[in-house]
């Protein structure tokens, strides 16, 4: 199985975020980490490779710091990495990001990288659009399925378990090649071993510049005009003091205000 995993670097979950002066984006001085669903997508790719032999290639589009996500992926067992590197990739909408990735996987030595499977996480924790994988499938003319919790190889291709709302699921039979967006919790994430970290340093890391994919990319079709702090619709009362005091205050509220005791 030759599998491509699209990964994204996002601000750390608990990182305190501040808006820039213009209110158009966040200030860059935060810590970053791999987008959690993408980590699950990588883990799933590595497990499929272990089961069926093959190759796992990871790709990201982002500034220099995004390389860290690829290094970690290589350390965990991915074979090769592709870094669409540059500030020009920041702020691309999902359509353009997908177009850039599609162009990048075609241009290597003029050969079309024919993947059996392409994974993305189901959505990113920063934008939360949940689109890039599905758009990529449309651009590449491939079948797709989203929010995947299990993948099994079959004679005709694969059988995937698609997660639906309210605890429902659905199996879907699909041909290969296909694009899947992977749900968190599909598996348990592995840690990179010391040997893996060492080996990662010698694994191929191909850099792709915006210039190389420019012809595939267009202007964004949507624009974030402004970011702001959410307007509170609730009057939140913060209860303060040492734990014993807070407990008393809270019970008073539960009893007299909320009337649940």
């Amino acid at each position: 199985m030759k599998i491509l995993v699209c990964m994204k670097q996002v601000p750390q979950k608990d990182a305190p975020l501040k808006l820039n002066d213009a209110g158009t984006w966040i200030r860059d001085d935060v810590s970053y980490e791999v987008n959690e669903p993408d980590a699950f997508a990588l883990e799933e790719a590595l497990r499929q490779k272990e089961k069926h032999t093959g190759e796992v290639v990871v790709v990201t589009a982002g500034p220099a710091r995004a390389m860290q996500v690829l290094r970690e992926a290589l350390a965990k067992g991915a074979d090769r990495a592709i870094h669409l590197e540059g500030d020009a990739f920041v702020g691309l909408d999902a359509y353009n990001t997908a177009r850039a990735i599609a162009a990048a996987i075609v241009i290597d030595q003029g050969k079309d990288e024919k993947f059996d499977l392409i994974f993305t996480g189901l959505q990113s924790d920063d934008y939360g659009y949940a689109q890039t994988g599905v758009i990529l499938a449309e651009i590449l003319g491939l079948p797709h399925a989203t929010i995947i919790m299990h993948i099994e190889k079959t004679d005709g291709g694969i059988r995937v378990k698609r997660e639906l709302e309210a605890g429902f699921f659905q199996f879907v039979d699909m041909p290969l090649p296909a694009v899947l967006t992977i749900q968190s919790g599909i598996n348990k994430l592995r840690y990179a071993t010391l040997i893996g970290i060492k080996q990662a340093k010698t694994k191929p890391m191909r850099k792709v510049t915006m210039a190389e994919v420019q012809s595939a990319v267009g202007g964004n079709l949507q624009k974030i005009e402004k970011l702001h702090v959410p307007q509170k619709s609730k009057n939140t009362e913060f209860l303060e003091g040492p734990p014993a005091e807070v407990a008393k205050k809270l019970v008073e509220k539960l009893k007299n205000e909320l009337r649940v005791i």
Partner: protein
């Protein structure tokens, strides 16, 4: 004349009631912009649903039919809607942000060389321009997003962002037009099987008046016992955010969120839950919310009535004692 088209969701011939929220959104935007509001039901043998939608205040309802639209596949839906929109252009296409819509709308938009603003929670109409509001960074900020390009413009609205019960009824039934679309067999590549529920439904959280819910802040499986004691003291049910259930620390039927249960209890007490969008969507209808979290910036505090910034392991034990005292 600009048209707003609401795509009504149905699954296996059953109307998804979240569609009323989308009609409410369409009615609000139509009132602001003066644009015409229409609706379309997409499926096989869905005339009855189209008839039900025609009772709402919309200019027209389309019954978009093809046998190939049942069961749902993204290939069939994207193909059918692409063909339909080719013959019945719309400026703005609205859908609810369901797992089914997420599965095909980016494909449809891309095929039409346009874009979708997904998981919007509202809109603004300023200076003749439509902006859509959506949460970013798991709810820490909200963004106003505009469309560039020529459309059609796709927008999906988050569960609960509009009131389905506030949908306006029509003075008379709207006309229903049946449109048959061709979906060639070769277009559909996926073969879906029957939908099923995995977890034994041992508990129905939708019936619980009080829910104590745990998130990652509970740290270890053995600590869930503490949350259970709190739930018992209050006479409530125990629930959890997704990561807790993914770890197997609580069964799946205790999961609250977009993939789990959607609840609206009298009291939702969130312990160590940050307030990720996928979780909030499952409990924002709660009558009252109490949140305990050590991170003062946790988005859960945006929707809390009472908030405690602190260590839940310090606060919950005396809280249990005080509740027992109060209950006598």
């Amino acid at each position: 004349m600009d048209t707003i088209l609401v795509i009504i969701e149905q699954r296996a011939g059953k109307l998804n009631r979240i569609s009323w929220e989308t009609i409410a959104a369409g009615q609000a935007i139509a009132a602001h912009t003066g644009w015409t509001l229409e609706a379309a039901v997409v499926g096989s043998g869905v005339a009855a649903i189209a008839g039900e939608v025609a009772g709402k205040k919309v200019a027209k309802v389309y019954d978009v039919e093809s046998a190939r639209l049942e069961p749902y596949t993204p290939d069939a839906f994207a193909h059918a809607l692409r063909e339909f929109l080719g013959k019945h252009p719309a400026t703005l296409v609205l859908m609810p942000h369901t797992y089914q819509v997420r599965d095909f709308v980016p494909k449809l938009a891309t095929a039409l060389q346009t874009t979708a603003i997904t998981d919007a929670i509202g809109y603004k109409y300023e200076g003749g321009k439509l902006l859509f509001t959506r949460q970013m960074f798991q709810g820490k900020f909200v963004a106003d997003v505009s469309f560039a390009g020529s459309g059609p413009y796709f927008v999906t609205f988050q569960n609960g962002s509009f009131r389905g019960d506030k949908v306006e009824a029509g003075a008379a039934a709207a006309p229903v037009e049946t449109v048959t679309v061709e979906v060639p067999d070769s277009v559909v590549r996926n073969k879906p099987q029957e939908v099923f529920k995995e977890a034994k439904q041992a508990v129905d959280l939708t019936q619980a008046e009080i829910i104590v819910s745990v998130g990652r802040g509970i740290k270890e499986q053995k600590n869930i016992e503490l949350a259970k004691q709190l739930a018992d003291a209050l006479g409530g049910e125990l629930a959890a955010s997704r990561p807790i259930c993914d770890n197997g620390w609580l069964p799946m039927d205790r999961q609250i969120g977009s993939s789990g249960q959607t609840v609206a209890p009298k009291l939702y007490l969130a312990l160590g839950i940050s307030g990720a969008i996928q979780h909030i969507v499952g409990m924002k209808g709660a009558r009252s919310v109490v949140a305990i979290n050590k991170d003062s910036e946790a988005p859960i505090f945006e929707i809390a009535d009472y908030a405690v910034v602190g260590n839940l392991f310090d606060i919950v034990p005396p809280l249990i004692e005080e509740i027992k005292k109060a209950k006598g």
